[in-house]
């Protein structure tokens, strides 16, 4: 479901998906200088990550991904942010990502489904 208010400067999209018996609510917002993705199963934002593409001289892009709030010992969350910023930066190179993952289940299958659903419904 997308916001149809043409006057509001921030576009958003809001939907849910079922993974492994858990209902995941996803909200994607596109600001002028950031993309915000919220994926929650617990009714709260949970762990918040920040990811951006680094300006570099090399051919291969480099990314800076970090947890700015919450669990710092879950590499799968960082990998998820990395996967999404990789996708975002190939369309809008200058927009960093703020990713919120409030999940009961951190399995790679769930995260993969979330990434696929976000990309499918992307706003970039």
């Amino acid at each position: 479901m997308e916001s149809s208010d043409a006057n509001f400067p921030v576009r958003h999209r809001n939907f849910s998906l079922e993974t492994k018996g858990n209902k995941t609510e996803i909200v994607i917002c596109s600001y002028e200088d950031h993309i915000l993705v919220i994926a929650t199963q617990i009714g709260a934002m949970g762990t918040i990550l920040h990811a951006r593409k680094e300006e570099g001289m090399s051919v291969e892009p480099t990314f800076s991904v970090s947890v700015i709030f919450g669990k710092r010992d879950e590499p799968m969350l960082i990998a998820t942010a990395r996967r999404l910023i990789d996708h975002i930066s190939s369309y809008v190179p200058s927009k960093p990502l703020v990713l919120s993952l409030g999940l009961k289940d951190h399995s790679s299958e769930t995260l993969k489904e979330i990434v696929e659903a976000v990309i499918e419904n992307r706003l970039w």
Partner: protein, 142 residues
């Protein structure tokens, strides 16, 4: 005070509420004199995310605020934006006092503008009451 606020207000864009009962997203815009404030409220089950845009759609600084033990005093921290800039942190803190919920606030209101900050906060609280996310009477004196 309320009538002054009403006089200053010029236009209110339509409020959109989307999503099922899980997550509700509300967006609205208010114009004051020469300043346009955009508001976005995302209501999760146990948390409210708010974005306040000052004349633009820039994300701004991100703060998290909640009641903390032992005495339920409200704590606020800067999550992204990390300067000693306090714009937004006061709003986040007072929103927690008002709603009792965890608040994540993104705000790009510039520094040294306490009057604007206060107006934005008032509009936000009024909208939170209208949406039924909070009670009209404060839980405690600020």
């Amino acid at each position: 005070m309320e009538t002054d606020y009403d006089q200053v207000l010029r236009s209110v864009a339509q409020v959109k509420i989307a999503g099922d009962d899980g997550v509700k997203v509300s967006c609205f815009t208010e114009v004051l004199d020469d300043v346009t404030l955009h508001f976005q409220i995302i209501r999760l089950a146990k948390q409210i995310y708010v974005w306040i845009g000052y004349n633009s759609a820039k994300f701004g600084n991100l703060y998290a605020a909640a009641s903390t033990r032992p005495s339920n005093t409200v704590s606020v921290t800067s999550v992204l934006g990390g300067t000693s800039d306090n714009t937004g942190s006061g709003i986040a803190r007072r929103l927690v006092m008002k709603t009792g919920l965890n608040i994540i606030l993104a705000c790009n209101i510039p520094k040294n503008n306490p009057l604007l900050e206060a107006k934005a906060e008032k509009m936000l609280i009024r909208k939170l009451i209208d949406l039924g996310y909070t009670m009209p009477t404060p839980l405690r004196a600020t």
